[in-house]
């Protein structure tokens, strides 16, 4: 494997925090410090040794800066628990291929540099490079896919590699940011990896059109190939370190497909800054009647790679920490928990939910117009009723209401009980004459109102008010109206109210 246009394996033999150290020396810890770095655990490189039948990997690197040592640099590593050279020399840990160098305690193999390295690497089968062709070539000695049932030939292997690169790395291969190009070579033939020719072509088309600014926002999708972009909100919670909540957005680019039998129809490609698809999620069965589509959810730095905003960077960082070592999904990870306050899990589920909602809105097909269905059946579903579902139990009970004429006036009585709540409360009694339809026609003045508990009573016109202390639960009352003619019926209105505060 060769990469080009990179810095090469820079850094001294024991220098911390260098590319050399990260790829060749360290085992578990990645040096990917930058927020937008691809991985986050540094476990990816261990794959190299796993795929070697001899657990051996050779690195030949042309550096941008050689510090006078001269290009290229060559080193090899055999990843073993322990190994022995002859019956007498036993070693713990990995074995190294390089130049034998004396140390304070014994010897070790260090990188070979310059013409010597060029000569050896040539003999090992590495292709020669010019000094300006910086980058690293990796040789996995005795390549064997531990997950495959049978060994693939080089042609087949190259094809599979191309397919995988196209499938997962197309976002970073797209114009105009073109961060990655890839070729495979087998049987002496070199072939460029072209995502445009692969199953993922519709995603690539959507993504490239989006980057060129050609995709309209929230536009209706009518014919296959139509595209639109929807901004989906995401809220990043506060961090334990005191960074505030961030309201960000991610871009959902949707392209209408022709048939649901098209490869990957109904899938959404999720990715962030580095441009590697984290997962394809099948949303084709989100609702009955979803039209076929391909969608891209570009997040973090990926939302607008040319000019990411502050909130894009916050989203990037958040999603990076939500990726488990396999980088194949976004989920609540221990790192997420350690870094963010409450709400990180909800932010992820909300993102999924909102993406689903947006897809539904865009893609559920329009039904044919129907005829009105059976009305009797319709009336079985009275769902338009207003009102609060089950709120509003009364705190007051009322009993024994009575009113009758006595000595030319209304004599009335009753009782009110507070059944729930605490604190002081109030009672109001009001009298009025009503007509045949129950409408109030005239107020009836109250002459007197008495209660049998210790409470303050104020009578004003047709209204008597009682202020009741908190410890009184029941207020029986009795009263009389001013003299009246009894032309009509009397309405007695009794109200109980909690006193605010």
């Amino acid at each position: 494997m060769d990469d080009f246009g990179t810095d090469g394996l820079t850094g001294g033999e024991d220098e911390d925090g260098t590319h050399f150290r990260a790829l060749c020396k360290d085992t578990l810890f990645s040096n990917k410090r930058e927020e937008g770095a691809g991985g986050s655990y540094g476990l990816g490189k261990s794959v190299l040794w796993i795929f070697s039948s001899f657990s051996t990997v050779l690195f030949r690197s042309t550096l941008l800066e050689t510090q006078g040592l001269g290009n290229p640099r060559l080193i090899g590593r055999t990843e073993l628990g322990s190994h022995a050279l002859g019956p007498k020399r036993a070693f713990q840990g990995p074995g190294w291929f390089g130049e034998e160098t004396k140390q304070r305690r014994g010897t070790r193999a260090e990188s070979v540099w310059g013409p010597a390295a060029a000569e050896i690497s040539g003999a090992l089968g590495f292709q020669a490079r010019n000094d300006h062709d910086t980058g690293t070539s990796i040789c996995v000695v005795g390549f064997k896919d531990p997950t495959a049932d049978a060994d693939l030939g080089p042609v087949e292997l190259a094809r599979a590699t191309r397919a995988a690169l196209a499938e997962y790395f197309w976002p970073s291969m797209a114009l105009p940011t073109r961060a990655l190009t890839a070729r495979t070579e087998a049987a002496g033939q070199e072939v460029e990896v072209r995502p445009h020719d692969a199953d993922v072509a519709p995603f690539v088309t959507a993504w490239e059109s989006y980057l060129r600014g050609e995709v309209p926002a929230k536009a209706p999708l009518t014919k296959p190939g139509d595209m639109t972009v929807v901004e989906v909100p995401i809220t990043i919670p506060r961090t334990h370190g005191g960074e505030p909540e961030v309201k960000g957005r991610v871009a959902l680019v949707v392209r209408l497909a022709a048939k649901s039998s098209e490869p990957r129809a109904g899938q959404v490609a999720f990715f962030r800054g580095p441009g590697m698809v984290v997962s394809y999620r099948d949303r084709s069965r989100l609702a009955l009647g979803m039209r076929p589509f391909h969608a891209v959810l570009a997040c973090g730095r990926g939302r607008w790679p040319r000019k990411p905003t502050e909130s894009d960077l916050a989203v990037e960082s958040f999603l990076r920490m939500s990726e488990p070592p396999a980088h194949d999904r976004w989920e609540p990870t221990p790192r997420l928990k350690a870094h963010y306050r409450r709400g990180y899990a909800k932010a992820l589920t909300e993102l999924s939910r909102r993406v689903d909602e947006a897809l539904k809105e865009l893609l559920i097909a329009t039904h044919v117009m129907g005829e009105r269905g059976p009305e009797r059946l319709q009336r079985r579903f009275p769902i338009g009723k207003a009102g609060s579902p089950g709120k509003g139990r009364s705190a007051f009970g009322m009993s024994g209401l009575d009113a009758r004429p006595q000595d030319g006036a209304w004599s009335f009585s009753g009782a009110i009980e507070r059944k729930a709540g605490e604190g002081p409360w109030s009672v109001q009694v009001r009298l009025a004459e009503v007509d045949e339809a129950g409408r109030r026609t005239e107020e009836v003045a109250i002459e007197a109102l008495s209660v049998t508990v210790d409470a303050e009573v104020v009578v004003e016109g047709s209204v008597a008010s009682v202020t009741v202390p908190a410890d009184v639960r029941v207020v029986p009352f009795r009263g009389t109206s001013a003299p009246c003619s009894f032309t009509g019926a009397l309405e007695l209105e009794l109200a109980g109210r909690m006193v605010a505060g």
């Binding site: 044919v368 059976p374 207003a386 579902p389 004429p405 019926a489 009397l490 009794l494």
Partner: protein
């Protein structure tokens, strides 16, 4: 949550009056001569759209103390001083009509005809005991002609009304699933409920023509009408469950539903779902069930119970069985 205030209004007449003295009992009902099954309780819903006359037969009964509005000497001969009246009132059509009944012993039988063309909305049938002529009476009693002496619970009739156009009910449409871009992949389906829009839509597959014939059956008696009710029950059960789950899912932590129809669904079902719980606590119970995944099956069970009760499934099946037996 408890309401922090309550207001109650009660009306009093300035003379002896028995507000619970009478009761209306409807024994049979017929629509243009064909008998109509009665609902439980003090109301009758007429589902048919095309009819002219509804006839109710029954009795107004004097309950204990019904004659309390009459002075003692008149109580022994109420038929001589008072009449029983049934007053029909329909607010929407400004319709009022009185029917005098012969008071015999403990009440009076009646047969009452209501013309559909005079009615809309709710029709109330109210019983009254009324003084026939002006009389001199002791203080505390009503002596004027036409004075109210007693009344009782009213009987309500709900004539069929076209479903409102304003979204009071679920939108139900017939669609040929075969011709529908969305539904054509599932021609075997009878119905499809869509809940993602502003208001839900129930689409019924018009391609199942025999089923549609039954769904469209008219009348309230006969095999097809009975079958129709059972078909409606089947559809209703499925659809209510879906509406319910969709509404529950949409509730926020405080029990607020984002869409009005979702609130309507819960208003309709919660009383059946938590019959023992006070109105105010039903939502809390629902939210508690939803919050705990272990209780989701319990929620489904309770929803199912509520629906079986609300739909009166057994009654409709029994009627179907009776009719099917009778027609053999």
């Amino acid at each position: 949550m408890t309401a922090s205030q309550r207001v109650k209004r009660e009306r009093f007449l300035p003379f002896a009056f028995e507000r619970h003295g009478l009761s209306v009992r409807v024994d049979s009902a017929s629509l243009d001569g064909a008998s109509l099954p009665l609902d439980e309780g003090d109301a009758l819903h007429v589902d048919d759209e095309e009819w002219r006359e509804l006839t109710l037969a029954g009795a107004v009964e004097l309950r204990k103390g019904a004659l309390g509005g009459l002075p003692g000497d008149e109580r022994v001969r109420p038929g001589e001083v008072a009449d029983l009246w049934l007053v029909v009132q329909c607010d929407r059509t400004a319709w009022r009509a009185g029917h005098r009944l012969e008071l015999e012993g403990e009440g009076a039988k009646f047969e009452l005809s209501l013309e559909r063309d005079r009615l809309a909305g709710v029709v109330e049938v109210v019983p009254w005991l009324v003084r026939r002529r002006s009389e001199k009476v002791p203080p505390g009693y009503a002596g004027a002609a036409g004075a109210r002496l007693a009344t009782g619970a009213r009987f309500a009739v709900y004539p069929h009304e076209p479903a409102s156009r304003a979204g009071e009910f679920l939108e139900v449409v017939y669609v040929s699933f075969g011709a529908d871009a969305v539904l054509s992949t599932q021609p075997w389906r009878l119905y499809h409920l869509e809940t993602h829009g502003e208001t839900p839509v129930l689409r019924i597959n018009a391609d199942h023509q025999d089923v549609v014939r039954v769904l469209d059956a008219k009348g309230q008696t006969g095999l097809e009408a009975r079958l129709r009710e059972v078909f409606y029950d089947l559809i209703s059960r499925g659809v209510w469950s879906l509406l319910f789950m969709s509404a529950v899912e949409a509730l926020d932590e405080d029990g607020n539903a984002p869409r009005r129809w979702q609130e309507g669904v819960l208003t309709e079902l919660l009383p059946f779902l938590f019959p023992g719980a006070p109105k105010a606590e039903r939502m809390d119970e629902l939210l508690a069930l939803r919050a705990d995944e272990a209780h989701l099956s319990l929620l489904a069970t309770q929803c199912d119970e509520a629906l079986q009760q609300r739909l009166d499934l057994v009654k409709h099946i029994n009627r179907l069985i009776d009719t099917a037996r009778g027609s053999r």
